[in-house]
């Protein structure tokens, strides 16, 4: 009853095509934006901002990127960690070489560089499909991590192979490096994520998004409507890598502050983001957020419950955590393989009728 659509008539295609055609959805999004931008940064303490909100936002960005490639265009990729590394190392070199360009342009640039690399590694996608493509992306993953570990130029020949984020300012506030202002970091990342999430949603519901989905659903038939498979797939790789690269750049420069290739960007990272979009929902921008929230919050919750609540030894807690994550993933895949986004949609359907049963 609350979620009734009756009485909301669309009198133009424009209204029907709006981002949130149902009025109740609009209110919810509005409220969410107010909460995220107006309330959260001032209410939550630094721990919450840094340990939870920042990684949630950054992983959401990466998840949107991977969702574009795998959820919308159907190209499975296990190279997310490697591409995040490209973003991170790009912005590192850029921050040292041309800091005067300003932080945000550097983030965009590192996204573009990653897009180029992603397009390159996407070339095999014309010949290779499905699971085999996933393996090909693993080649990218292993190669990239190896490269950022071995080739000294990337980490300025630092003995440990680590890169450290030099401090940069935005509007006079330090945004990167150990002195970074947490509130400012949060607002910056939240803004970037909001803007690019909107962009992704727009692309997804337009011609390009439809062509991606056509490739995903039946690539042979997609050619029928004039889609050139290689161009469509490469564009998906490019846009996806752009997002993942930006996520990697922010991951390193704003959140971690320092990173080493094999630790921060290894295959577990690739799995993590893939889990996020599967649990969140393939082919759904909202799903990317939900999945990221789930997989960022859950380990923290588990650790808090076990270590603080039951006093479990930290090492044991870590093992149990792994078991629970694994079990939850299996459980999710059994119960709702279409992810939280589908559960959300079902909930909305039920809300349409509530409190009536049918």
């Amino acid at each position: 009853m609350i979620y009734r659509e009756t009485g909301q008539f669309k009198t133009s295609y424009q209204a029907d095509q709006a981002l949130f055609p149902i009025a109740q959805d609009r209110y919810v999004i509005f409220a969410a934006l107010i909460v995220f931008f107006g309330i959260v940064p001032f209410l939550l303490n630094e721990y919450w901002l840094n340990a939870i909100m920042l990684p949630f936002l950054i992983y959401s960005l990466a998840a949107i990127g991977l969702n574009i490639l795998t959820g919308y265009c159907g190209q499975v990729s296990l190279g997310t960690g490697g591409f995040m590394a490209v973003g991170a190392f790009s912005i590192y070199k850029l921050m040292i070489a041309v800091p005067e360009l300003g932080f945000i342009p550097l983030v965009l640039l590192s996204g573009l560089i990653t897009a180029a690399v992603g397009t390159l590694f996407g070339l095999p996608s014309l010949r290779i499909k499905g699971f085999y493509l996933a393996v090909a992306t693993l080649a990218a993953q292993f190669f990239l991590v190896w490269m950022f570990n071995k080739v000294g130029w990337f980490f300025n020949y630092n003995a440990s192979g680590m890169i450290n984020s030099p401090p940069m300012t935005l509007f006079g506030v330090t945004i990167t490096g150990p002195e970074g202002d947490m509130t400012a970091q949060y607002l910056l990342v939240a803004s970037i994520v909001a803007v690019f999430a909107l962009a992704a949603k727009n692309i997804a519901r337009g011609r390009i998004g439809r062509n991606w989905m056509a490739i995903r659903d039946m690539d042979i038939a997609a050619e029928l409507i004039g889609v050139r498979p290689l161009m469509a797939k490469l564009s998906a790789f490019a846009v996806s890598s752009f997002y993942i690269g930006m996520a990697g750049a922010l991951y390193f420069s704003v959140w971690l502050g320092a990173a080493e290739a094999t630790e921060a960007f290894d295959i577990n990272q690739s799995f993590l983001v893939l889990f996020m979009i599967i649990i969140g929902g393939l082919g759904s921008i909202l799903g990317s957020f939900l999945g990221a929230a789930f997989l960022v919050l859950m380990p923290i919750l588990l650790k808090n419950i076990m270590v603080d609540g039951f006093g479990t030894d930290a090492a044991l807690a870590a093992h149990i955590e792994i078991i629970i994550v694994g079990a939850l993933i299996i459980g999710f895949l059994i119960v709702e393989p279409h992810g939280l986004a589908r559960l959300w949609r079902i909930a909305k359907e039920k809300l349409r009728l509530w409190p009536f049963p049918h």
């Binding site: 290779i128 499905g130 393996v135 599967i278 792994i322």
Partner: protein
């Protein structure tokens, strides 16, 4: 020249070790269409159980092996009951993700049950250099030779099993078409328990070989990641392919590491196998022995 032979032989042996793990994959893929990412962890888990039974419960070797086999069969039954049964018609990527989840569960479980420190595994497999060759200046590990022979025996056994026995035939039917198999009365669930058990035993063998060679530790589970290029080369559904693919990858890797490695700073082994697999995929996506994928409109 001698050194070259040694590198090649060493590569072949390493390749056989990869093949042992790849075999487990092939079995499961053949019979259920699932790529079991947890295969490597299963090898680790099996080895951990074996060592655990021998050390903590003081089982003699033969009893420990039987005990571990029993554990793997029970595990297979559990996996079928709790996981596979509920995922019957899902897409391959979902199944794959489920096996990653399974890998995490087994990893955590193994750590909790048996501890995560490195363990020594010695069940009496001969170690040390093979004297006859060593006299000629070539170093080959007896252990690796033993592994190669074991693998050969396994392959022959599995080949016979698939071709000649009733269950083997049923397995092939299930691999081809689940519904058709069901309609002739083959119980999918039983087949899956059988397959995962056999796979578990193969994992145990792999775990024993790898564990004897470098100790039972977490890195054992990462072998799974190496098995993927092996499968690509050999074909996901071919038992002999797993062996030959393994050998090619093993030799290729070693040669690359020894001759190309120093030029680019070493540790090429991390990705060489994958690049090789990638090159293969571009020219022959079904691998050396796999079935060709034909798409009809």
């Amino acid at each position: 020249m001698l050194f070259f032979i040694e590198v090649v032989l060493s590569g072949l042996m390493a390749g056989v070790m990869y093949s042992l793990v790849a075999l487990g994959f092939v079995l499961i893929f053949k019979a259920s269409g699932i790529f079991n990412f947890a295969q490597g962890v299963m090898a680790l888990f099996a080895a951990l159980t074996l060592v655990g039974l021998m050390e903590k419960f003081n089982f003699p070797v033969w009893l420990a092996i039987i005990g571990t086999i029993a554990v793997m069969i029970a595990l297979a039954w559990l996996i079928e009951r709790v996981m596979l049964r509920h995922l019957v018609n899902q897409e391959p990527i979902i199944l794959f993700m489920a096996t990653i989840g399974l890998a995490y569960v087994l990893e955590g479980l193994g750590d909790i049950l048996w501890g995560s420190d490195v363990k020594l595994l010695d069940i009496g497999i001969p170690q040390g250099a093979w004297e006859w060759l060593w006299d000629q200046g070539i170093y080959v590990e007896k252990l690796e030779l033993f592994a190669a022979v074991t693998a050969a025996v396994l392959v022959i056994f599995l080949a016979v099993f698939f071709q000649k026995t009733r269950i083997g035939r049923a397995l092939r039917a299930v691999a081809d078409d689940h519904q058709a198999a069901l309609s002739v009365g083959i119980s999918l669930n039983t087949i899956w328990v059988v397959v995962w058990s056999v796979s578990g035993i193969v994992a145990l063998v792999a775990g024993i070989m790898w564990g004897s060679k470098s100790g039972v530790q977490f890195s054992l589970s990462l072998i799974a990641l190496k098995a993927l290029p092996v499968l690509i080369l050999g074909g996901f559904t071919s038992v002999p392919g797993a062996i030959i693919g393994g050998m090619i990858i093993g030799v290729g890797e070693k040669l690359a590491e020894v001759y190309v490695g120093p030029v680019v700073g070493g540790a090429i082994e991390n990705w060489f196998a994958y690049m090789l697999a990638l090159a293969f995929l571009l020219f022959r996506p079904q691998g050396l022995f796999g079935e060709k994928i034909i798409e009809r409109v």
